[in-house]
Every structure is written in C-alpha cells, then in structure tokens.
C-alpha cells in the first residue's frame, strides 16, 4: 500500500538562514498589531465593558435589516446601538451601553432590554429573540481583570515549566513565541473588529497551550540533538531539528486545521470568533515555533554544554573533577 507523504524524507531546508529578516519581520508585525490595538482598539463585548447584548434571528428574512434596526433603536433614546451580524446573514447581535445610573438601579437596564426587545418584535414580525446578556460595569471590570490575570499567569507558568524541564533560554524562547502569537491574534481582532469577549480569552489560552505544544516538540528534538551532536554548530543543529520534526509539524497542523475548518464552516455561529482565533493561532503558532522560539537559542548562546553536566559527570571520574 502506498501511503501519502506530504513531506519527503530527509528534507534539508535551511530555515535558520533567514532568521534575521524573519525576526525583523515578526517584530514589525508585532509592532503593527500593537499599533492596531492601540489606534483602532478592540471591539470589546459586554463582558468587558458592561452593557447589554440582545441576539436576534429574523426567521423569514434572508438578511437582517440592520440599517432599519439601527434607526428604530436609536429612536428609543438609549443612544446608538452597535449592531453586528453573527453567523447567518439573518442573525444579529445588538449591543448597548448600560443606561446612566444602572449601577445604582438595575431596574433601569431591565427596562432598557425590555423596551428594545419589545420594539424589535413589534417592528419585525419574524424576529426571534435568542438571548439577552447584561453585565454591570463592576462585574465587567472584574471579568477583564480576571482575563488579564489568567493570560499573564498562563504565560508565566508555562514559561516557568519549560525553564524547569529545559534551560532558561528555552523558557525565554517559549515566552517570546507565545507573546508573539497572542499579539498577532489581538492584532487580527483589532483589524477585523470581530467582537472580543470572554470566549476569545479562552481561545487565547488554548492557543497558548497549542502553540507551546509545537514549540516543545521542536525544543525536545533540539535538546536530543544537542546531546547527540556535540560539535555541530548551533544554526545547523537547529535546522536539523526543525527538519526532523517537519513532517510531524505539517501533519499535526493539518489535522488541527481540518477539524477547525469543519467547525468554522459548519459549526455554531455563536463561536465563530472563538474558532477563528484558534485557527489563526495554529498558523502563527507553527510559524513562531520555528522562527521565534528556535533562533533565540542562538542569540542566548545555548550549546551542548547547557545539557552536559549530567553526562560530563559520567565521563570524567569523580576524583578528576576536583
């Protein structure tokens, strides 16, 4: 039986030859992402800014009458809504800031939600209210802070773990590559203005996990080769390690993409943004394991010696060491 081989055996691609331009490119992309996040901003969901979101499906319309809705809701006097399509063209989410004073008197925000849903149902006979979310300002601040803590701690713990299992240089490399992945994903959200809610933070955490998965596989091979080929120059050894794991990297990334694309195209529209974030993460994660995590080891002067102590002790008689 002939099996499918996506990557030929014994590839020898000089990935690391282009490390400097790629590094500069990555850094520029990261800077651009930050620039986008700072200038355009993220389209934060009610989880993080407080307010209300009403999801509506227009059952008998091909497309949701977004412009008409905007006018109708603005006329209710609660300010301008943010109306966005999600999933099908006939499904929208309508977001509103909480009315002034709602923190003291929650009844105000209830009234607003009811006024809006009643108005939408009155103006559009086929409107089906699929959900109402309301988050107070105080809770949204906590959620934002919790999300930030979770991401920060995940980065630190994971980098710490890698430091423990490998060497400190590897920890820094892993940290750098996951900062890169998260930054680029944030940049994409700033660029596309997809809604950024709590689910997306879960996606970022997942992405951190899987991007590291990739990094670790490459690192594991680097460590193995460092012990095996003590004399080999570092760039060559990194190229060898990346090439040796290349088949695995491609097959795994493809496997993930197959399931993710199924989820993107056929899955529930409510989690489209979530899936999109992870899908992007697979690409940047794979890239960053090769071009962010590996080259930094050269600059941080990793060498066989980093892993020798244990073996050196075996080579040299204990007495000779003193």
């Amino acid at each position: 039986m002939k099996l499918l081989k996506l990557v030929p055996d014994n590839t020898n691609i000089h990935f690391l030859r282009w490390r400097v331009p790629f590094y500069i490119g990555s850094l520029l992309l990261m800077a651009a992402s930050w620039g986008l996040v700072l200038t355009r901003g993220l389209n934060l969901g009610v989880d993080f800014v407080g307010g209300q979101m009403v999801r509506v499906t227009f059952q008998h319309s091909a497309e949701a009458p977004i412009a008409a809705l905007r006018g109708e809701i603005t006329r209710l006097g609660y300010g301008e809504p943010i109306i966005q399509r999600y999933g099908q063209p006939n499904q929208v989410s309508i977001r509103m800031k909480l009315p002034a004073g709602a923190d003291r008197d929650p009844a105000l925000s209830d009234t607003m939600a009811r006024t809006i849903t009643t108005a939408v149902k009155a103006d559009h006979a086929d409107a089906r209210i699929d959900g109402v979310d309301a988050v107070s300002g105080k809770v949204s601040k906590e959620l934002g802070w919790d999300a930030f803590k979770a991401l920060g701690l995940a980065a630190i713990f994971v980098a710490g773990y890698i430091w423990l299992r490998f060497e400190w240089q590897f920890g820094i490399g892993a940290l750098l590559s996951l900062v890169h992945d998260v930054t680029l994903t944030l940049g994409m959200f700033a660029l596309t203005q997809m809604e950024f809610d709590l689910n997306i933070v879960a996606a970022l955490l997942t992405l951190i996990g899987y991007s590291l998965n990739d990094t670790i596989v490459v690192y594991d091979r680097i460590r193995e080769n460092l012990k095996k080929y003590r004399k080999m120059p570092m760039p060559e050894l990194l190229d060898l390690s990346v090439n040796e794991t290349l088949a695995r990297t491609i097959v795994t990334s493809l496997s993930m993409l197959i399931t993710l694309i199924a989820l993107l195209l056929l899955g529930p529209p409510v989690i489209f943004g979530f899936t999109a974030a992870i899908t992007l993460g697979i690409f940047v994660g794979t890239y960053s394991s090769i071009y962010m995590a590996a080259p930094i080891l050269i600059w941080l002067k990793v060498s066989s010696k980093s892993f020798v102590p244990g073996e050196a002790a075996g080579d040299i008689p204990a007495a000779a060491k003193r």
Binding site: M1, I162, I258
Partner: protein, 535 residues
C-alpha cells in the same frame, strides 16, 4: 515492548470500555431521545447556552449589612439599659459614620453601662476577634464600632440566609432544577434552565420583602414632612405609589415601637370583596400575633403605616384591636404583584437587598441550533480527519482512528460520571481535542518512520518511537493542562465548561493515543512478526 501481560490487557480494556459505555446515556440524550429510566445514567448536563435558560448573578452590598447591624445594636443597647434594675439615662445617640455613639449622663455609671453592653457583643466566628469594639471617649461618650471580622461574619450569615430565601422563592415559581449557589463573599449565582422570560424571577428576587408596621405621627408638621425633615424620634417614609412626574408623598412615622412583619406563618393572595382589588392576607405566628394584637389594641383610632422595603403601602386607621392573628394588606396591587408579594412574604424577607449585576438568557432555539451544528461539525471534522490519517499512516492510521473514536466516547463518559456541564465552547473543546489527540499519534508514528529510515529493525523502531515521543507528548500536554487550569480558575460558566473538556480530553487522549495504540500495535507485531512495516 511486545510483552503485554494478559491482566494488563484486560485492565486497559475495562477502563476504556467502562468510560466509553458511560457515554451512551449522554449520547442518547444529545440525540434528542430519552434514556430508559431506572438504568444507571451518568449524563452530562447541558449548559444554559445549549439548553436555553437564564443565568443571573445577584450582589449584596456589605455596607447595608453594616448599617443594619448598627441600627440593631442601637435598639439592643436602649432595651438593655432600660431594663436594668437602675435604668441608665443616655442621650445624644448617633449611628452615623459607621459607629454607634451615645453619652452616659451620669459618669458614675460608666462601668455599669460597659458591663451591660459587653454581653451584646460576641466573638467573630473563629477569628479570635470580637464583632464589636467598645471605647469610651472624654470620660462618658461610648463609641461602639463593628469590626471588619464581625461585619464579614454577619455578611456571610446574611448571604447564607439569602440563598435559602432565594431558593424558596424560585421553588415557588415552579421552575425545574434551578442552581442556586453562593459565589464569592457577596454574590449569589442563580441558573434556571429553560426559563425564557426572567422578568418575573428578577422582580421576585429584587424584592427584599421587609414588612413593617409603624405608628403614624399625626402631630408632625406637614410642611416639614414634605421637605423630609423628621421630628425627633420619627422617620420620614415615602409612599410606594408615585404619580409620574410628581414627588413621592411622604409620611412621618415613629421610629421605634412598631413591629416587624417577619413572624408570619402564611401569606396569600386575596381580594377585597367590595372593590375586587387584589390584596394580600397575612397570618402571624403566635408570637407575631400577640405583638400585633398588643400594638393594635393600644392604638385604636390612630393610623398606622404598612411599610414594605422602606415604602408605605397604605396607612389605614386602626378601627379595632386585631386579635385573630391575621391581617389584610392593601396597596395599589395588580394580581401579579400581589401574588409576587405573597410569595416573597411566605419565603421570608431577604436579610439584604440583592441587585442583578449580570444576566444572560439564551433562547431554546439558539441552543438547539448550536447543538445540531456542533454535532455536524464534529462528525464531518472527525470523518475528514480519519480519512487523512488513514491515507497517511495506513494500518497505524486504523489504530489511530480507533483511538480517536474511543477517546471521544471516553471524554463524554468521564464528563457524565463527574456530572460536569457541556457548554457551547465545550463542543469546540471536543473538536479541538480530536485534533490535538492526533498530535500524539503523529509524533509517535513519525518517530517510528524516522527510526526505520535510520535502519533500525521493526520492533526496535516501534519501541524507540513510543519511548522517545512520549517525553515530548508529556511535556506538551502538561503545558495544556496549565492553560486549562487557569481557564477554569478565572473563567465563568461557558469558559469553565471548555476548560473541563480540555482537561479530561488531554488525559484521555494521551491514554488512548499512547497506551491503547501501543497495546494494539504490540499485539499485531507479536502475532505477525512482520519484517517490514508500511508507515
């Protein structure tokens, strides 16, 4: 590595099939059928985002508990000093600024007062501190302040009571399987599956239902009352009934000497036979009835105010002593609001006001749609992936696919056994886990391929493949566990559901991908002893 003792094989299959079979009830359920009753049914619960329903987060204000405690202490101190053998006169009582202060007019009685007041304070739980501090300033001014420990304990007790009250009220609505739990120090999380319009629920939970009967001070100057200036010993209470655009009418009542309406045995919706207006009939217990009888018989001919949550419902004149232990409350009720008040009074007053700080309601159609689409995506994704793995790894791919399917069943089974909740991101977690589970297989198979190229013999190559790949698999999955744990710790409902699927999925996928496939491969190798393998 070819040696797999029989007991180990049996044991591995038992574990695998045990978890996998536990998934059946959940699968039957998700497919929309009913699992026969009476058979062990470890089922996953569907999260609100899938099943539809309401999620409401209520919050209490600790400052309110503090105020209540200070007011309660004021009353206790007054009663205590009045009841002493030689009553002590105190004056200049103030409960502002978070402390209770009063002057003892006879400096010689300072110690006696301290002696009398001290038993009113208690230890604050297990903290080793007292719940109040007592200080004497300038020789005769008592300053009593609740300690933080005391407040914390009081808040905690109030929240426990509040949870009970909330539970009683929700049960009275007849909704099924509500979840009511404390969340943090001052919050209560309420989840009611299937509830579509949470308005009635929110109204019910927003009503503190503190009922009071206080005597109206007829001598108060009406213009002072309108401006909110209370005569000494009085307080000004607004009417509940406000005409739009007008200031609420107010009334002056005696601050002390009223009774609380919390000693009830029953509260029922009733009708005024003359006007047919909705009213609430309350029945006191024997203690409450006696107090009510005493209040009414001592004040025949005077008006008294019926106050609910700090607002006057009505202020009727007491025509005659009410001795029967029951009373009818009228106000400007609709049938709905009267029956809601009856429920609230029956379940008891909330010890603190609760505010809705977060709400999320999902319609049933959206949830059903999500389940259907999630299942389709999972099915298509799994099939496409299986095809890809089969053409890439041949016989080994078959093992990998078997491991994948078993893995799916095991995750669902484990979730059912633990009784966790499947949420919408959780479905995505499933799909992701499938992808990630393949990674472990790929690492192993690629390594075997590599070792074969280096010229190792089949058995050796397989052995080294498993051994070398396992290290990277372990490290990689451990970092995923870290990420999932943090997600669980800091996330809320749906995100936690995702984290649970990830955590279980990581464990089962490593188990199926590493241990189970290794067993199958070993059995095959031992049976056929091939000189060459296609991988």
């Amino acid at each position: 590595m070819l040696e797999f003792p029989r007991w180990k094989v049996i044991w591995l299959w038992l574990v695998t099939l045990g978890f996998a079979l536990a998934a059946l009830p959940s699968m039957v359920d998700l497919a929309g059928y009913r699992w026969p009753a009476g058979i062990y049914e470890p089922k996953v619960n569907l999260g609100l985002d899938l099943a539809g329903g309401s999620h409401i987060l209520l919050e209490a204000d600790p400052a309110q508990v503090r105020t209540q405690r200070i007011e309660g202490m004021e009353e206790s101190v007054r009663n205590k000093l009045r009841a002493m053998a030689q009553p002590v006169r105190i004056s200049d009582i103030s409960n502002n600024n978070g402390t209770l202060t009063f002057l003892v007019e006879d400096p010689g009685k300072i110690d006696a007062v301290r002696e009398a007041v001290l038993p009113l304070t208690n230890g604050a739980g297990l903290t080793g501190k007292r719940d109040w501090t007592i200080n004497v300033l300038d020789g005769n001014r008592f300053v009593m302040a609740p300690t933080q420990e005391g407040i914390d304990q009081a808040v905690s007790q109030a929240m426990d009571t509040a949870v009970e009250v909330v539970r009683k009220r929700i049960d009275a609505l007849g909704t099924k399987e509500p979840t009511i739990v404390r969340s943090g120090a001052t919050r209560i999380l309420v989840e009611v599956p299937g509830l579509q319009d949470p308005q009635a629920l929110k109204n019910l939970l927003g009503q503190t239902a503190k009922l009071e009967f206080k005597l109206v001070d007829g001598s108060a100057n009406p213009s002072d009352v309108a401006q909110g200036i209370a005569p000494p010993g009085d307080e000004i209470v607004p009417y509940a009934d406000v005409k739009p655009g007008q200031p609420a009418p107010k009334i002056a009542v005696h601050r002390l000497g009223g009774i609380r309406g919390d000693e009830l045995t029953n509260a029922q919706l009733s009708n005024n036979p003359q006007t047919n207006a909705a009213t609430v009939t309350i029945t006191f217990n024997s203690d409450g009835g006696a107090k009510f009888a005493k209040l009414t018989s001592a004040n025949v001919g005077k008006p008294f105010a019926i106050i609910l949550d700090g607002k006057v419902l009505s202020a009727p004149e007491i025509h005659e002593a009410i001795l029967g232990g029951s009373a009818v409350i009228s106000g400007n009720f609709t049938t709905d609001s009267a029956s809601q008040l009856a429920i609230s009074l029956r379940s008891g007053a909330l010890p603190v006001d609760l505010k809705v700080v977060e709400e999320s309601t999902v319609g049933p159609d959206l949830g059903a749609d999500s389940i259907r689409k999630g299942m389709i995506a999972m099915g298509v994704g799994t099939l496409a992936l299986a095809a890809f793995i089969l053409v890439t790894y041949g016989r080994f791919g078959v093992y990998a696919c078997c491991a994948l399917v078993l893995n799916l069943f095991m995750i669902l089974g484990a979730m059912g056994i633990i009784g966790t909740t499947l949420t919408l991101p959780g479905i995505a977690g499933f799909v992701l886990t499938i992808g990630a589970a393949v990674d472990a297989q790929v690492l192993i198979f690629e390594r075997i391929r590599e070792e074969r190229h280096r010229g190792r013999r089949v058995v050796q190559a397989v052995e080294i493949g498993y051994k070398e790949a396992t290290r990277a698999i372990f490290d990689a999955n451990f970092t995923n566990i870290i990420a999932a744990t943090l997600m669980f710790a800091f996330g809320s409902g749906p995100v936690q559901g995702f984290a649970v699927v990830l955590m279980i999925g990581i464990v089962t996928s490593v188990f199926t991908a590493v241990t189970m496939t290794r067993m199958w491969v070993a059995q095959w190798l031992r049976r056929t002893r091939p000189a060459e393998i296609t991988i």
